[in-house]
Symmetry: C2
Subunit: 207 residues, 2 copies
DNA sequence: CCATTTTTGTACCGTATCGCATAAAAATAG
DNA sequence: CTATTTTTATGCGATACGGTACAAAAATGG
C-alpha cells in the first residue's frame, strides 16, 4: 500500500492560489455582499468543489481572515526589520501597512484597507464567532507592536507605558485602514503615521 | 381650497420615529446584511409603504447615514460644551463618543460602534456613492475637531499643527469605534482616549 | 481490466431578496 | 354622496442565494 501518491481524481486547482483569489473577493466586498457564485467565477471552480475543499461560506471567510492576519504579520515583521531604533521601526511598519491598505503591494491590487478591520468588523455584532475573530486580530496587533517597542527600548520604558503606546498606535493604524478604504492617498496617510509615532512614542528613548 | 389639512388617507407612522428604527437595523447589521423584510418587521410597515416613503434600500441607507452624522455632531458638540480648555473639551467629546459607541446612550441600545465607520466603510469599495459619503463623514469629523482646537487655543498653535492634531484624534476615535464593536469595555476605551489626548495635544497651551 | 477513491460538473431544492402592480381603506373637497 | 387623493395591504414576479444530490470523469491499486 504505497501512500506516496493520492488515490482519486487529481484536483484541477492549487489550494493556496485559490485561497488567495477568495481572499481578494472577501477583501473587496466584505462577507455579506460576497456570493459563492462570485467566488466560483473568480476561482474557476464550481460551488460543490468549493464547498468540499473549504466548507461553508462562513468557514471560508474565517479561514481567509486567519490567512490574512498571518500574511500581514509576516509582512510587517519583515518591513520593521529593515530599520533600527523604536521610532524608525514603527514608522517603517506603519508605512508598510499603508502600502498594503492602499494597494501598493503584490498582495492586493486596490485600496481595500485592512481585511479584518474593514470587513470583519461589520459582521462582528451579529455573530459571536466573527466578534471573537476580530478581537483576536486586534489583540495580536496590540501585542505585536508592544513587543517591538519593548524590545527596542530595552527596559527604559515602563511596561504599562509600552502597552498604552502600542494600543495608541494600533488605534491610529486602524483609523488609517478606514481612510485607505475611503480612498485617501498613501502619501497623506504616511505623513499622518509618521507624525503620530513622534507624538506617541517618547523621544527620551534615544530616537 | 383649504390647504391646512392633508388630502388622502393619513399615515399610520411617525416618519422621525420610523427613521430611528431603521437606523437601529442598519447600525446593527450593516447595509448588505440588512433586508427590507427586517426593516418592515421592526418598523411595523410593509415594504411598499417603506418604498414610497423613503425610496430604495440604498436611498434609505444614505438617508440614515446623514441622519446619524447629524445626530452625532449635535451630541458631541453638546458634550464638548460642558468642559473648558482644549484637553478637557477633547476628552469630553471622546468620552461621549465612546458612550455612544458602546451603547450607553439613549440613541442606541448596544455596542455597535460608529454607524459610518463600522458599516458604511465596508461598502465603500464597491460603490462610489458610499465611498463619497464615508469621505464626507471623515472630513466633517476632522474639521469639527480642528475647529474645537482652533477656538480653544486662540492662535497659540500653528494651523497645520491644529489640522494634524485633529486628524490624529479622528484616527484614534475611529479606532475606538472598531474596538467598541469588537466588544471592548467603555472604561478601557475612555482611558485610552484620555491618554491619547494628552499625547497628541501639546500641554504648552495651558492645559 | 475492474474495483475503489476522489474530484468535477450539472442540475436542483427551498428560501430569501428587492421592487412593484393592484386593489382596498381612509381621509378631504365640493 | 360622489370624486379625488393618499396610504395601506396583499401578493406577485423575476432573480439570487447557499447548499447538496447525483452521475460522469480521472486518477490509483491490485
Amino acid at each position: 500500500m504505497k501512500t506516496g501518491t493520492k488515490r482519486g481524481r487529481p484536483r484541477k486547482f492549487d489550494e493556496d492560489e485559490t485561497l488567495d483569489q477568495i481572499m481578494q473577493v472577501f477583501w473587496k466586498n466584505g462577507y455579506a455582499a460576497t456570493s459563492l457564485d462570485q467566488i466560483a467565477e473568480v476561482t474557476g471552480l464550481n460551488r460543490p468543489s468549493l464547498y468540499s475543499a473549504f466548507g461553508s461560506k462562513k468557514d471560508m471567510y474565517l479561514t481567509i481572515v486567519d490567512r490574512f492576519a498571518d500574511r500581514m504579520h509576516i509582512y510587517l515583521r519583515e518591513a520593521g526589520g529593515k530599520a533600527t531604533g523604536v521610532r524608525p521601526r514603527l514608522k517603517a511598519i506603519l508605512a508598510a501597512a499603508i502600502d498594503l491598505y492602499t494597494g501598493q503591494t503584490e498582495l492586493n491590487g486596490a485600496p481595500y484597507g485592512c481585511l479584518a478591520i474593514s470587513t470583519l468588523q461589520t459582521e462582528a455584532v451579529q455573530d459571536a464567532e466573527f466578534r471573537e475573530a476580530l478581537d483576536a486580530v486586534i489583540t495580536r496587533m496590540d501585542k505585536g507592536i508592544a513587543s517591538l517597542i519593548r524590545h527596542e527600548t530595552q527596559g527604559s520604558m515602563a511596561e504599562t507605558d509600552i502597552k498604552e503606546a502600542a494600543q495608541h498606535l494600533a488605534l491610529i493604524l486602524h483609523g488609517l485602514s478606514i481612510r485607505a478604504r475611503a480612498g485617501e492617498a498613501p502619501g497623506v496617510l504616511k505623513a499622518l503615521a509618521e507624525s503620530a509615532v513622534d507624538k506617541i512614542v517618547p523621544a527620551s528613548t534615544g530616537n
